[in-house]
């Protein structure tokens, strides 16, 4: 009784390109594991068989930013590290999303200190904040579902960068 049973006969579905693209985008959000400190352990736990982030199509943790859609900033970001995080974020292709995982990334957390950035939203556009110190894997999955919800509402053309638009206008 799988998908094959339904597809035994020829058939068709009606949808929009936007809906199809958004569906495929949200079902394969590849994370950039920016595991900077203890939150990374919970992020790894979310990928293990018990919590199984693969159910959401996000099991492909890519260690190169060029293949990622979602940056999970998991851990305390210091001012020195902020430069690195921003640089990796800049290398990710559009469209891209950011989860601020845990108290440190959201607000500085318990590190109310000269060396820690008091919230990564000072230099990154954060989509979802996750509470907890560290958040449990369920909480990260919940954040991922919130990201999926957000993606499902996007339009396919929304993320075309300018050079592509220019190419289109040039009618090559």
């Amino acid at each position: 009784m799988g998908l094959e049973a339904i597809l035994q006969k020829d058939g068709f579905i009606t949808t929009t390109i936007d809906a199809l693209v958004a569906w495929s985008r949200k079902s394969s959000v590849w994370p950039m594991p920016m595991g900077i400190s203890c939150c990374a352990i919970e992020m790894i736990a979310a990928a293990d068989p018990k919590y199984d982030i693969a159910r959401f199509g996000s099991e492909v943790m890519r260690f190169t930013p060029r293949q990622c859609d979602l940056m999970i900033v998991a851990g305390t970001v210091t001012y020195k590290m902020a430069q690195v995080v921003r640089r990796i974020y800049d290398q990710m292709p559009d469209p891209k999303w950011v989860i601020a995982m845990g108290a440190c990334t959201s607000s500085g957390g318990m590190y109310r200190s000269y060396s820690v950035v008091q919230g990564i939203d000072q230099f990154l556009p954060v989509d979802v904040y996750t509470a907890g110190c560290p958040p449990r894997p369920e909480n990260l999955l919940n954040a991922l579902m919130a990201i999926q919800e957000k993606i499902s509402k996007t339009k396919a053309r929304q993320f075309q960068n300018r050079s592509m638009a220019e190419l289109e206008n040039a009618q090559i």
Binding site: Y79, K80, A82, Q83, R86, Y89, D90, R112, S113, Y114, S115, V117, Q122, F123, L124, P125
Partner: protein, 170 residues
């Protein structure tokens, strides 16, 4: 180690240092068997060399170099050295009072090479200048940072704008 042996070692060290550096020793404290010598600023390298090279003592290992910021008094800073002798299985503490203007003391890296990074860290956090140090650069804070974060007059949350942050991405 039996307690009597420990007492003997302590007396031996105290006697040896007293004999040789009598003028330069400012204070000897023995709080809960933690032996501590406060020595004059210009004698610290000589004392360090003596402790390391004396065949009866052989304090071969420098475990830690740090500083106390007393915030308000004449000698504002006190550098603290922890050294260890494998031969005697004994920890010894040395202290040097230094003034704030300028907060400088001779490096002990000429005696214990391991003090290199300890002194760098101390410089980074407290701004103590270790004279003739081989590589006195910032360790934790970025180069170009102008303040010393662990000084008592440095605000906990830092000085706004003193550390650069990337511009906000779109």
């Amino acid at each position: 180690m039996p307690k009597s042996d420990f007492m003997e070692i302590k007396e031996l060290i105290t006697k040896k240092i007293k004999d040789r550096f009598n003028q330069a020793v400012e204070e000897i404290s023995d709080f809960r068997n933690d032996l501590c010598f406060t020595i004059q600023k210009d004698k610290i390298v000589e004392l360090a060399k003596y402790l390391k090279e004396d065949p009866e003592l052989e304090f071969l290992m420098c475990k830690d170099v740090t500083v106390i910021d007393w915030a308000a008094r004449k000698n504002r800073f006190t550098t603290v050295y922890h050294v260890y002798s494998f031969k005697l299985n004994f920890n010894l503490r040395l202290k040097v009072n230094i003034d704030v203007d300028p907060p400088a003391v001779e490096t002990i890296t000429s005696v214990w090479k391991s003090a290199d990074w300890y002194e760098r860290e101390t410089f980074d956090m407290y701004g103590i200048k270790f004279l003739n140090h081989p590589d006195l650069r910032r360790m934790y804070m970025p180069e170009g940072f102008e303040h010393y974060p662990l000084r008592k007059d440095f605000p906990v949350i830092g000085i706004p704008g003193s550390l650069p942050l990337p511009n906000k991405a779109e």
